[in-house]
Amino acid sequence: MTSSLDATYAAPAAPGAPPSRLKARMSATPFRTPSAVPGFGLALGFTVLYMSLLVLIPLGAVVAWAASLGPTRLLAILSQTQTLNALKISFGISLAAAAMNAVFGLLLAWVLTRYDFPGRRLVDAAVDLPFALPTAVAGIALAAIYAPNGWVGSLLPFKVAYTPLGIFVAMTFIGLPFVVRTVQPVLADVDRELEEASATLGAGRLTTVFRVVFPTLIPALLTGFALAFARAVGEYGSIIFIAGNIPNVSEIAPLLIITKLESFDYAGATAIATIMLAMSFVILLVVNLIEAWSRRRLGHAR
C-alpha cells in the first residue's frame, strides 16, 4: 500500500539515476504511514522524551556503570561469597515459590473458571490482593502472622519467620496473581467439545483433563511461572520484614544492593543490579518466545 503510493509520487528518474522502480523501493517503507490524524509529532515526541529522561537514561546509567567496571571486575565482585549467596537465595527461593504458585495458581484458575459456588466473584477479586496491597504492608503483616508468636507461626513446630521459609512464603504471596490471571483466560477459552470428543473416544475424566486440557494450558502456565519468578526475584518490601536478612543465610539480592549503596559500594551494587537486569530481559524474551511458539504451533482458536 505505502510502496505503491510512494512509487506514484517518486520524482521521474534523471538520466544516469537509478530507475524509478528502484527509487520507489528505497523509500517504500517510511517511518510513518501518512494519516489525517494530527498530533503525531507532538505525542510521539513527548512520549520518547519522557521515557528517555525518566526510564531509559537512568537504566542506561546502570549499564554504563557496569560497562565501566569491565567484565573481569564484575565477575570478581559477583564471586564474593556474600553476593553469591544472596543471588542463590533470591533466585533459588523465587524458583521454588513460582513452582508452588504454578500448581496452586492452576488450581485456583480451574476452580474459578469451571465451577460456580457462592462467593465466587469475591474470591476472584481477592486474587488481586497482592497487587492492591502495598508491599510494605504485606511485609509486616506476613511477618506478624508467621512470627513464632503469630497466628500461624505459633501453630507450627518449626520456625517460618526470619528464615528462608519466610522468604518462600512472602514470594508465594506476591507471585500468585500472575499465574492465575495468565491461565484464567486461556482456560476459559478451552473448547468443551474437545473434552466431549475425548469422552466419546473412551477416555476417563482424569485422562481427559491431563492429556487433552492441560497441554493447551502449558504456554500460559509457563508464562505465568516466568512472570511470578521475575517478580519474586526483584521484590523487596514484602520480603525484608519476614526474612531474617542474615547475610549468607536469608539475605536477598535486592537487600544486598541497598546495603552496598548505603556504604557507597556503587560497584558492588551495580554488579548485582546488572545480573538482575539481565535476568529481567531474559524473562521478557522467554515469555515472548513462548507466546510466539504457541501461536505458531497451536494456531488461533479453531
Binding site: 467439545e193 466431549e196 475425548s198 473412551g202 497451536l298 494456531g299
Partner: protein, 355 residues
C-alpha cells in the same frame, strides 16, 4: 448395530428440546436428522452419544440399554461440526487417542495401533499426513481426520453433528459424496444431523424431520418429498405455497365454491392446500381448479416466477413458468394443479406418518 429410540424427552429449564421422540434405525443404515435450528436434532444426537442425559425415555443399542452407560463406555464415534481435534497432538496421535486411552486389558499393542492408524489415514485419503498438526491442515482435511479418529475405536454407531457446516460449499459437496462412499465401504450404522435439506436428501437412506422437538416424519428421501405427512414437512422440503380452504364431506372448497380436485383425505373444517411452484400450470381462465390474477412477474435464474392472487382473500401462490412464457401483470389465468396436498389448518391435530 440397530438403534431404538423410545419416547425420549429433554427440557432445558422450561425450553422443551425433545417432546417424546421415537425412532428405529436399522443396522448399517445412514439416517439424517433434519430440521431448522432449535428443532432438537442436535439434542437427540448428543443424547444417543451420552453427551446429554434425557429426562425420560429409552435408548437401546441392539438389546442393551445405552442410558445405563456413561458416554465413555458407549463406544460411539462422534464427529463434531468444528472438528474438535486435539491441537497439541499430531494427526497420528489424534487418531490413535481412542485406542491409547483404553485400559491395559483392551489396549492393542503399539504396533497394531500404528497399523490401524495408517489404514484409516489411507481410507480417508490423507496418506502421509500423520505427522502434521491440525493447525497445518485445511478444514476439509481436519474433518477427515476427525472421522478417522472416530472410526478408530470401531464404534457401534457413528454420529456426525453437522459435519460439513463449517466448510466451503465446494468442499462440502465433495465431502458429502465421499462420506457416502465411506459408509458404503464400512457399513457402520450412521446418524448425522443437518439443517441442509439438499444434503439430507442426497446422502441418507432415510430422513427424520424434526421441528420444535417433535418428529414430524421419517421416510426415504422420495417419500419425504412426494408424500409429506405434515404441512411443516411440505414447506420445509422444497418450495411451496398454500391456500386457505374448507373441507366438507371430503371435498375441498374455496370461498364456498367446491374445487374440482376429487376427494380429499382430510377431516371437515378449515384446512390449507399446499402446492409446489413447479406443479402449477396456467390454463384458460374458467378451466382448471381455480381462477387467479397475476400480481407480479419476475425472472428467477433459468425460470420465470409469477405471484398469483387467488380467491376472495387474495392469497398468493408462487408459480414457476418457463422463460418463454408470455403473460402480463394483472392478467387473469386459470390454475391447474398437477400435484398438491391438503392438511388441516394449524391448531388442528395432524398425524405424523412414519414410512
Amino acid at each position: 448395530m440397530d438403534l431404538k429410540i423410545r419416547d425420549v424427552r429433554k427440557e432445558y429449564g422450561s425450553f422443551p428440546a425433545l417432546n417424546g421422540v421415537s425412532l428405529d434405525i436399522r443396522s448399517g443404515e445412514l439416517v439424517a436428522l433434519l430440521g431448522p435450528s432449535g428443532s432438537g436434532k442436535t439434542t437427540l444426537l448428543r443424547a444417543i452419544a451420552g453427551l446429554e442425559i434425557p429426562d425420560s425415555g429409552r435408548i437401546l443399542f441392539g438389546d442393551e440399554d445405552a442410558l445405563a452407560k456413561p458416554v465413555q463406555e458407549r463406544n460411539v464415534g462422534f464427529v463434531f461440526q468444528h472438528y474438535a481435534l486435539f491441537r497439541h497432538m499430531k494427526v497420528f496421535d489424534n487418531i490413535a487417542f481412542g485406542l491409547r486411552v483404553r485400559g491395559r486389558a483392551r489396549r492393542p499393542a503399539e504396533a497394531d495401533i500404528r497399523k490401524k492408524v495408517l489404514e484409516l489415514l489411507d481410507l480417508v485419503q490423507l496418506k502421509g499426513l500423520e505427522n502434521r498438526y491440525p493447525a497445518q491442515l485445511s478444514g476439509g482435511q481436519r474433518q477427515r481426520v476427525a472421522l478417522a479418529r472416530a472410526l478408530a475405536i470401531e464404534p457401534q454407531v457413528l454420529l456426525l453433528d453437522e459435519p460439513f457446516g463449517a466448510l466451503d460449499a465446494q468442499v462440502r459437496k465433495e465431502l458429502r459424496r465421499w462420506l457416502r462412499e465411506i459408509h458404503n465401504e464400512t457399513g457402520h450404522t450412521t446418524v448425522f444431523v443437518t439443517h441442509d435439506q439438499e444434503e439430507a436428501l442426497e446422502l441418507a437412506d432415510r430422513v427424520a424431520i424434526l421441528h420444535k422437538g417433535d418428529l414430524q416424519q421419517v421416510g426415504t428421501p422420495d417419500a419425504i418429498y412426494d408424500e409429506p405427512a405434515t404441512p411443516f414437512v411440505y414447506a420445509f422440503i422444497g418450495d411451496s405455497s398454500s391456500l386457505p380452504i374448507e373441507v366438507r364431506g371430503g371435498r375441498a372448497a374455496l370461498d364456498g365454491r367446491a374445487l374440482p380436485l376429487g376427494s380429499v383425505d382430510a377431516p371437515d373444517g378449515p384446512a390449507r392446500l399446499h402446492v409446489r411452484p413447479q406443479d402449477v400450470t396456467f390454463v384458460t381462465p374458467g378451466e382448471g381448479v381455480a381462477l387467479g390474477r397475476i400480481a407480479a412477474l419476475r425472472r428467477l435464474g433459468a425460470f420465470r416466477r409469477a405471484d398469483v392472487e387467488v380467491g376472495a382473500r387474495r392469497s398468493r401462490i408462487e408459480v414457476r413458468l418457463p422463460p418463454e412464457a408470455v403473460f402480463a401483470e394483472g392478467e387473469e389465468v386459470g390454475l391447474a394443479f398437477e400435484r398438491f396436498a391438503v392438511f388441516p389448518a394449524e391448531g388442528a391435530p395432524s398425524a405424523a406418518r412414519a414410512a
